[in-house]
């Protein structure tokens, strides 16, 4: 089997259980002129593929599949580019096995 024949991340996220707090994303990207190297890296290294570029070349985040690992927080909270919080108690990823 070649690597490319493996499930894309989006399919893997379907294995998981989430309770999405609709309309209350726990991570936001602040408005930025051009994304820093760290913010750009998130479009590749977020394990849930939550980060992507929008048409204007800005980085955006959709937190529905977030695994709450904290990688983006470690890289970009200090640069001021993102605003990071845990979801409200009970919401977010609910691991069955962990």
């Amino acid at each position: 089997m070649s690597e490319s024949s493996f499930e894309p991340i989006e399919e893997k996220l379907y294995w998981n259980r989430y309770l999405v707090d609709a309309g209350r994303p726990h991570i936001r990207v602040r408005r930025h002129l051009s994304p820093s190297a760290s913010l750009r890296a998130l479009t590749k290294i977020c394990p849930a593929n939550c980060y992507s570029f929008d048409d204007a070349g800005q980085v955006k985040v959709v937190t529905d599949g977030c695994l709450e690992c904290g990688t983006c927080r470690v890289l970009c909270e200090a640069t001021g580019e993102i605003d990071w919080n845990y979801p409200r108690g009970g919401f977010g990823i609910l691991f069955k096995f962990g």
């Binding site: 493996f6 890296a41 290294i45 394990p47 695994l67 108690g89 691991f95 096995f97 962990g98």
Partner: protein, 435 residues
């Protein structure tokens, strides 16, 4: 009506928080534990190997009802290049003892069980509750926590921060720094389900014997990283972790790295036919001794991963978390029984007890390893594994060249890749760090 006040609030119901809450509740303290997940464990990820001695020191008869998967009889360490692995396997019948030393566990089930013990001991656990801020008095002393439930802060004599590697409370309140990207690894993990007898056959196991594989080499694509495969009763935990700094520099997708590990010819047959039921990710503290923050202050202590108490060299974390939680709990009980206040001075008892334990002693022993891994990742995780594989293959293949020629070719390949000076300095650095 006077407000309810607790002897201690524990933030987090993971390994360290449960150990701390259990220790204090079973000694009669009034303990409140907060957990942001729907149930304890719902936010937690581990490989997961459980070290029995440390848990036994807290819950002596845990084997009666704890959800344990398999006791480990075999440990494999694999050095891998793209198509091969060289391995060291250690298997011993001695591990089939009554009170086995190491077990695999499924973390979510284990955390639910451990939290149940806290409740039995009289502790109160409030789930679906995220602590958002520490409450302080006018002198800055910690006196409780605010939560995302409406209402006034909850008050206690002392707050135990057991919030894990990505804890927001301590970092936002300035009690410790945020972990640096070279001091944390991002691990991604999948749960592969297979019938119990298939796992037994593939790994040569009977009953509830287990086998684990730790793997390093080109699977982490030149980044400092480690793969693992652990056998549970009817599932296999498969994962790989790489330093966040390495990922950010290389822009490698962790999910692609995991897929690469999964389809390595040495791993793939072990998973064939499995049904995958979960994909998880979590950080692991890797900074070692030098990354440990201040461990106590006015009205607070920090334990477990939040305090970077994790031994990356030996893949131990949960036991350091449990033991630090237990020691913090014991220290708090001692101070309380002496009728003293939870001041920074008095809470230094926790630090001095921890310094005497295996937790700090082990971390001091390996204090130089994180820097070594960070700066030499390309040679340690890519160049050397490839050379090792070439040398092994050349010695195994029989095709007419003399053994002396083969030996010379292998040595020349090492020198060509790293230079004589490079090899000597790598050897010295590695020896020093592991000393």
């Amino acid at each position: 009506m006077s407000r309810e006040r607790f002897d201690a609030i524990v933030v987090g119901a993971g390994m360290s928080g449960n150990a701390a809450a259990y220790t204090m509740a079973s000694r009669g303290l009034k303990v409140l534990q907060l957990e942001r997940g729907e149930y304890p464990g719902s936010k937690n990820v581990q490989g997961a190997i459980l070290y029995a001695n440390m848990l036994e020191g807290i819950v002596p008869n845990f084997r009666d009802d704890a959800p344990l998967e398999r006791h480990l009889v075999e440990q494999r360490l694999w050095i891998m290049d793209d198509t091969s692995h060289s391995g060291m396997h250690y298997r011993s019948h001695d591990f089939n003892e009554q009170r086995a030393n190491r077990y695999t566990i499924v973390r979510v089930q284990f955390d639910k069980w451990f939290a149940g013990k806290v409740r039995e001991a009289g502790g109160t656990i409030l789930c679906e509750t995220t602590a958002t801020k520490l409450a302080r008095d006018c002198s800055g002393n910690v006196i409780g926590v605010h939560t995302d439930r409406a209402g006034r802060p909850i008050l206690a004599d002392v707050v135990v921060l057991a919030e894990g590697v990505n804890g927001v409370l301590g970092t936002r309140m300035g009690l410790r720094d945020m972990p640096k990207s070279q001091n944390v690894a991002l691990a991604v993990k999948e749960m592969h389900f297979l019938p119990e007898h298939v796992i037994a056959e593939r790994f040569g196991l009977t009953g509830d014997q287990g086998c684990v594989i730790e793997a390093l080499g080109t699977i982490s694509r030149g980044m400092a990283g480690l793969g693992f495969l652990y056998t549970n009763r009817d599932s296999i935990s498969l994962g790989i972790g790489c330093l966040v700094s390495g990922l950010a520099e290389s822009m490698e997708s962790p999910h692609t790295v995991l897929n690469g590990f999964k389809c390595h010819p040495s791993i793939k047959p072990l998973l064939a036919g499995s049904e995958v039921k979960e994909y998880a990710a979590h950080l692991i503290p890797e900074g070692g001794f030098r990354a440990i923050p201040e461990l106590h202050g006015e009205g607070w202590v920090v334990v477990g991963d939040a305090a970077q108490l994790n031994n990356a060299v030996h893949r131990e974390g949960s036991n350091l978390a449990m033991t630090s939680g237990q020691i913090a709990g014991e220290a708090i009980c001692t101070i309380k029984n002496q009728g003293r206040l939870m001041t920074k001075d008095n809470l230094s008892l926790y630090k001095s007890m921890l310094d005497k334990s295996f937790v700090i002693k082990d971390l001091i022993k390996h204090k130089d390893v994180p820097a070594l891994l960070h700066t030499n990742s390309q040679s340690l995780f890519s160049t050397y594994p490839k050379l090792l594989s070439q040398a092994a293959q050349s010695f195994v293949r029989v095709e007419g060249s003399t053994k002396i020629e083969k030996e010379k070719a292998a040595i020349d390949a090492f020198i060509k890749a790293r230079s004589r000076w490079g090899l000597v300095s790598d050897a010295v650095r590695i020896a020093r760090a592991w000393r």
